[in-house]
């Protein structure tokens, strides 16, 4: 699949939802929420592992971990779980390249795994990620963190941490830009056909 050029669409066809500054603030807030909800650092706290869903969930997980370390002084192990081989829509798209799955050295058994993705939409990616996790180990619990929840769920799945809720129409798309992959930060609402 050819990489998409982001942010190059007709300005009339897209609207900025979050600026670079907004993204940074949102990630910071989410980091605080994860520390709070997982009681990170407390004696009774579980071992927390952040696993991003490639491609954009992986750098997001890194950013959250960096922020969490700043705020709590605790280094949270991060990794990535590629869901491509677990997707239910492979036959509707051209061949999808695989991404790396990275499991922290101590594994995920009995850990509290926080799955991290950029956009929560139908919930099918999260469903695939839960299947993939099952093949990687047996976490004590799994939570979900997303930068944007745009609605239109097709499965009984909800996020535990949401950066921004964005009501969208089905003919719209949400594009998350991250400097690690896209050269800049931001979140755009785009017309269908321009969204990924």
């Amino acid at each position: 699949m050819a990489p998409r050029t982001r942010g190059a669409t007709d300005p009339g066809g897209q609207r900025q939802l979050l600026s670079a500054g907004d993204v940074a603030r949102t990630v910071a807030r989410m980091a605080h929420q994860i520390i709070e909800k997982t009681t990170l650092g407390s004696a009774s706290a579980p071992r927390v592992v952040l696993l991003g869903v490639p491609s954009r969930g992986a750098p997001l997980a890194q950013r959250l971990a960096t922020r969490m370390a700043e705020f709590s002084g605790i280094e949270v192990p991060t990794g990535a779980v590629d869901v491509t081989l677990y997707r239910d829509d492979l036959r509707r798209k051209p061949t999808m390249p695989l991404h790396e799955t990275v499991v922290p050295d101590d594994g995920i058994d009995d850990a509290l795994v926080v799955l991290v993705d950029d956009v929560l939409y139908s919930g099918r990616t999260v469903r695939a990620a839960l299947d993939a996790l099952r093949d990687l180990g047996r976490p004590r619990a799994v939570q979900l963190a997303v930068l944007v929840d745009r609605g239109h769920r097709e499965l009984p799945i909800r996020a535990d941490y949401v950066g921004k809720n964005v009501p969208t129409a089905t003919d719209e798309g949400v594009d998350v830009l991250l400097s690690e992959l896209d050269g800049e930060d931001g979140v755009l609402l785009v017309r269908r056909g321009e969204a990924r």
Binding site: D82, L85, Y86, L90, R91, R92, K93, P94, T95, M96, P97, L98, H99, E100, T101, D131, D135, L136
Partner: protein, 313 residues
């Protein structure tokens, strides 16, 4: 990609995509107790082997099963064509019975092409698992995967292919694929075991020589081909002894190789004939890695054929 019939049809980009997927699959399964991915759940893969080959058939079967496909093995007893049902009828029957993919090994060159032609109007994919003396594309892909792994890449590497190139589908597939990936190839064989007009095949940079000793010090890899028993009695060379002296990879010859050079063999090996036991079992030998990579490469091929929207091209 609807079918995988030849390595000759793969350009560098297409081959690299399959090899990258194979790497990804290998990584995805690394250290896991459960070798099972749900990717091809509900898809039916049929292996149709008109020649005995435990090694290749099992590799495809494991590849399909690790991807959760339903794998059915049809063993066409013996290789007698014209006896019983025609290949065309068998293919159409298997397709009508619901085969999403037919993996065929057949003694006739071009059999996989014919199969793809007969199944043109169906959704059934065809993988060539070796057709006569023509091609064996997944073997070349697994050789390329092994070379990439051991040498860090293929572009610009010098690779010697040694032995019965004339009758070898493995050699034909490798000549095309490794050249497409940028390797510089030298073919080493007695004149009787060289294919006709190799120089006119249009393979850039391909060299032919009969002097193995002269090539070994400068190669990054040496691929030894099997010498089939029927060749030994077919007058292609005077004796097994003379062949072994001139073209076998002995311990002495192995010492001529650069330190980093790798030894490949598609198997099954004739130890003491084309390759010395000590060479086959040495750390230079990537023969076990080839077998392991074979499963991942074949998983990748199935993924590219079956886990994407229908491509009728």
């Amino acid at each position: 990609m609807k079918h995988l019939l030849t390595a000759a049809a793969l350009d560098a980009a297409a081959a690299t995509a399959v090899l990258d997927t194979a790497d990804g699959l290998k990584h995805a399964l690394l250290g896991r107790e459960v070798h099972k991915l749900p990717t091809l759940r509900g898809r039916t893969v049929i292996t149709m082997f008109y020649e005995n080959s435990t090694r290749t058939r099992v590799s495809f079967e494991i590849a399909g099963k690790w991807m959760s496909a339903d794998v059915v093995n049809v063993s066409a007893g013996g290789s007698s064509v014209g006896k019983g049902e025609s290949l065309r009828d068998t293919a159409l029957t298997l397709s009508a019975a619901g085969a999403d993919c037919v993996i065929i090994r057949h003694p006739a060159s071009g059999a996989a092409h014919r199969l793809a032609g007969w199944l043109r109007d169906t959704g059934t994919h065809v993988v060539n698992a070796g057709d006569g003396m023509h091609e064996h594309p997944t073997q070349a892909l697994l050789d390329a995967a092994t070379l990439r792994e051991r040498l860090g890449g293929i572009d610009g590497r010098r690779i010697a292919i040694v032995g019965d190139v004339r009758h070898s589908r493995v050699a034909r597939s490798n000549v095309h694929l490794l050249t497409a990936l940028g390797a510089e190839l030298v073919v080493v064989a007695p004149p009787t075991l060289l294919p006709t007009g190799l120089a006119e095949w249009g393979v850039p940079g391909l060299r032919v020589t009969h002097d193995l000793d002269a090539e070994l010090p400068t190669v990054d890899a040496v691929m030894m081909l099997r010498v089939q028993a029927e060749r030994m009695h077919g007058g292609f060379f005077p004796s097994a002894r003379e062949y072994s002296i001139a073209y076998g990879l002995s311990e002495r010859r192995m010492d001529l190789l650069p330190d980093h050079a790798v030894v490949l063999h598609p198997g099954p090996m004739l130890r003491g004939m084309e390759i010395a036991s000590a060479v086959a079992d040495s750390p230079r030998s990537a023969i076990t890695a080839q077998v392991r990579n074979g499963v991942h490469v074949r998983m990748a091929v199935l993924y590219h054929l079956l886990a994407a929207e229908e491509d009728r091209s």
